[in-house]
Symmetry: C2
């Protein structure tokens, strides 16, 4: 029986690109270019941890390091304290318009937890600001493994006292669902076709026959009987 | 600056004795005797894990094992499935009357997290049923160390991205506060003089000059400016 819904956060629940671009633009930087260049460093950075090349480090640190690189690439400068503060833009991401209302409905029937590569402090700050009604904030940091490594998924289910097939992984990314499915989790795809802006080319649609395919979190709530 | 309040749960937020006694009595058992005998096994059980005699195991398992012992001592029998179900009484503990209202006020200004020896699944179930508005469910299981071991406190603060002195440990138990204080946490004592019933003899009052001493969670909210 399905008991918990586990959510990818960046891109699935929140619109990181618009939020980060807005904070960067407020500092006189080219907002979307900063957001895209910053996020482009994300998977390569995670891979240094996943591969064992680098010891466990939280996403806040990786974000801060990547920002230095992004600014150098763009030929822009910011004072160190401005860089620290801009890094916290990732704690202040706005949810997609349907997210809070959909989660609020889903929470009546299911346990809702994050299964994100974001660190706990980042996700707590984001949830408090945006009103994301998580029952538990779990994922990479408590597992000390970044998705799509199996430990991130399995540790999250274990902390909830659940078997993988009692959990539904919800993501806007086919790769995340493939990794969850390989560990026995159920899967729900919710497309976020504007995550990467108007020229987005990937994850525009479900690439496999996932257990649930929903237009947004309100549609997901309806499809799950909430 | 104070940023997060970390709560002991059993006894401090919820009235475990009345709740467990009620579920035991509903099965025809002597309710208060079961609750007291069950809880009496708690610290000795935890000590087997703290000492390294036994590998990490979650509280749900320890509760289930202790119940067999309690029933044998009382000369009572229950079917295995009844034992499993009664063990989940610890997931269904009622909060003290001031707890939800006090936490709701405190949450406006501070991050609220559990710092409990309860496992995540237990605390999630309890929070959903009782309406305890945690921002994060942390503590022993994510640290894989039971209080009062330092790792339980330090891991919880670290997951929140905070230094110990940015965190206030809230407990009805002087020993819990002493352990937190030794790691640099601020401390708040909230007495729960009926936790162990009418004959309670310990933790009736603050035994040290803790940073805050409050009559209940509403008083705590007032004293913290919420």
């Amino acid at each position: 029986m399905l008991k918990a819904l586990l959510f990818d956060v960046f891109g699935t629940c929140v619109d990181w690109r618009t939020s980060v671009a807005g904070e960067a633009a407020a500092l006189g930087l080219p907002g979307e270019a900063v957001a895209d260049a910053w996020r482009a460093r994300y998977q390569p950075q995670l891979e240094t941890v996943r591969s064992g090349e680098r010891e466990w480090v939280v996403l806040d640190i990786l974000h801060r390091e990547a920002l230095d690189d992004v600014l150098a690439e763009l030929g822009r400068d910011l004072a160190p304290e401005q860089r620290d503060e801009l890094t916290l833009a990732w704690h202040r991401l706005d949810p997609w318009p349907d997210a809070v209302a959909g989660l609020t409905r889903l929470r009546e029937r299911y346990v809702l937890a994050t299964l994100s590569n974001g660190n706990v402090a980042l996700l707590v700050d984001m949830a408090k600001r945006a009103g994301l009604p998580w029952d538990a904030i779990l994922g990479a940091e408590v597992a000390r493994h970044y998705k799509p490594q199996p430990e991130a998924y399995l540790t999250t289910a274990a902390l909830l006292g659940l078997a993988p097939d009692e959990c539904l992984m919800v993501a806007a990314h086919n790769g995340d669902l493939a990794a969850a499915s390989a560990q026995g989790f159920r899967t729900a795809f919710v497309p976020r076709p504007a995550e990467h802006g108007s020229s987005q080319s990937r994850d525009l649609k479900a690439e496999r026959d996932w257990d649930v395919i929903a237009a947004d979190f309100l549609d997901l709530a309806g499809k799950l009987g909430c």
